[in-house]
């Protein structure tokens, strides 16, 4: 029997509510948990792709093809005895609705121990994407970048897995904020100015080594906390390596890959649907120099931090030349990109009632 008798399943038309459908599916799948194990993968940063290498080892030696809930040992949950009761109680949120994955939030109860978590479902090539997301979250922390705390990974089968992070309630993403009146009135909003300065700094730190990129640096993946941190989340598409970048072009591919996405996110309005993409509309509809605006809000600070970091390592003269070439090409490309975005945005009509 799939559903234990003591569960009460509320009848509702979840076919009209995809999020509820995902949550119900997760709740059903939790009933099938066969094992709870600790997951503490090791990463060999000598490898070109340490995450991929680690996933292969995990699937070969730790995953036994039964529904298994892997828990981050840092949570301190006892996995030595047989777990008799796992439940998930959803929570209501305004956030996370623009996530392509359909992230949802709730309380996971494991034999009375409770965790508030954010859950990301993986339904395509789940054995790859589920661990990929979880492992990358771990690697980001190992690299010293601020990130959400990975909670665990639930693998049901090849086509169903869930990666989980601890839910920090004092967290919000930049796409939850109405930015339409921010520019050019940025001096009226010192708090938001500071937030964007922080984004610039975090992006510059990430790109400084030339071998890392976030992979999806849109506003929906930039979190801000009540105690003043602004940082990137959702590293599923990240490229994270410790290997020295081959040349300026490699560096450029990483930085341009991220900043073009961020720029697009700043230009497109929330009601856009360009290949499924929307943005936060800081620049949409604005009759001003968009490049100047982008520089004022984000790019000037980014360049300043990048240059400062490169100068700190100035004994590597080759690196300095590479970074200089990279930033020159990056600036040129982003100027072209913003012109293109301005043209695209002209074709997007204002939101109608």
């Amino acid at each position: 029997m799939l559903f234990p008798e003591n569960h009460e399943w509320i009848e509702r038309d979840i076919s009209q509510d995809p999020e509820a459908e995902r949550i119900v599916q997760f709740q059903k799948s939790l009933v099938s948990v066969n094992n709870i194990e600790i997951i503490n993968p090791e990463f060999d940063f000598e490898e070109k792709d340490p995450v991929n290498y680690s996933i292969k080892r995990f699937l070969a030696y730790e995953y036994d093809k039964t529904p298994t809930l892997f828990i981050n040992p840092e949570l301190g949950i006892d996995t030595s005895s047989k777990i008799s009761n796992i439940e998930f109680t959803p929570l209501i949120a305004r956030g996370g609705k623009r996530s392509a994955h359909g992230v949802f939030f709730g309380k996971l109860s494991v034999d009375g121990e409770q965790l508030n978590i954010a859950v990301k479902p993986h339904t395509v090539n789940a054995l790859k994407t589920g661990p990929d997301d979880y492992f990358k979250n771990l690697v980001v922390k190992k690299f010293g970048h601020y990130n959400l705390s990975p909670a665990g990974l639930y693998i049901v089968n090849e086509e169903e897995a869930y990666s989980m992070t601890i839910l920090d309630e004092g967290l919000s993403t930049l796409d939850s904020i109405d930015w339409t009146e921010y520019y050019p009135n940025i001096d009226n909003n010192p708090g938001m100015q500071e937030m964007w300065r922080s984004v610039s700094g975090q992006a510059a730190l990430l790109h400084a080594s030339g071998n890392k990129m976030h992979g999806d640096m849109a506003a929906r993946n930039i979190a801000t906390s009540a105690d003043g941190f602004t940082f990137f989340i959702d590293w599923e598409y990240a490229r994270l390596s410790e290997q020295k970048p081959r040349d300026a072009e490699t560096r450029y591919n990483h930085s341009y890959g991220d900043l073009s996405v961020l720029l697009e996110s700043m230009c497109l309005p929330p009601h856009a649907d360009i290949g499924g993409k929307a943005g936060i509309g800081i620049l949409y509809g604005k009759n001003c120099d968009w490049w100047e605006a982008f520089c004022e809000i984000f790019y000037n600070e980014y360049l300043f931090v990048r240059t400062s970091l490169a100068e700190e390592g100035s004994h590597h003269i080759q690196t300095m030349y590479e970074v200089e070439d990279e930033l020159t090409e990056l600036t040129r490309s982003l100027r072209d990109e913003i012109q293109m975005m301005q043209d695209i945005c002209k074709s997007i009509p204002p939101k109608t009632r």
């Binding site: 949550i23 109680t89 305004r94 801000t224 009540a226």
Partner: protein
């Protein structure tokens, strides 16, 4: 957008730090502050403002009894100030972007404005039809994220009792609040005004308090 309070850099070594602008419930009109106190046992968020007059205390107590104010009053902290412990996720509704997704676990604009109507309708029952809470509604109402289904997610901010004032004779409270919300949200409120009005009069029809 109105003024954001300047934000201090996050510093976990600091015992006290100003809550970040996006979340801050500090409201200049009543002189309140929103601070995070870092302690070895964990951090807590506190909104503080000058002690109430007797009239204000009476209003605050009634609003609190109905569960309309976010957080809980901390007693015996300071003689001249009120201090409220606030949930970490509480934030002013002023900066909320448009959310249109529908569903049981989504809190979209329709729900937000309906509950806002309910909140203000309940408030009116306490402060009376000749009074309003005057000021920037975007800063006087707080949204608390990640709540369980069926629980309130919109609350008045601590210190709101200090904004209660007599309304202009030519206006009704519903008119006044609608006008305020129109100024803050413009087109968005045009879409949602129906739900706001519905929430505002809902409890009045049923007689619930």
């Amino acid at each position: 957008m109105s003024e954001f309070y300047p934000q201090q850099h996050r510093n976990i070594d600091k015992f006290e730090a100003t809550t970040q602008a996006r979340f801050s419930l500090a409201y200049s009109k009543i002189g309140s502050t929103d601070t995070i106190i870092n302690h070895v046992s964990g951090s807590i968020r506190v909104v503080s403002y000058d002690k109430d007059t007797r009239r204000e205390t009476k209003i605050r107590n009634k609003l609190t009894d109905k569960g309309l104010i976010v957080g809980s009053l901390l007693v015996d902290i300071e003689p001249n100030r009120n201090h409220y412990k606030i949930p970490k996720s509480a934030r002013p509704i002023e900066y909320e972007s448009y959310v249109h997704s529908s569903g049981e676990y989504s809190y979209n604009d329709k729900k937000l404005f309906y509950e806002l109507g309910e909140l203000l309708g309940d408030t009116q029952k306490i402060i009376g039809e000749k009074n309003i809470i005057e000021g920037d509604l975007g800063r006087m109402v707080s949204f608390v994220e990640f709540s369980e289904p069926g629980t309130r997610q919109l609350f008045l901010v601590p210190g709101v009792e200090k904004t209660v004032t007599k309304i202009n004779k030519d206006l009704t409270p519903l008119d006044y609040y609608s006008d305020q919300l129109n100024q803050i949200y413009d087109n968005r409120f045009e879409d949602a005004a129906y739900y706001f009005g519905l929430g505002f009069i809902q409890n009045r029809i049923s007689g619930d308090t």
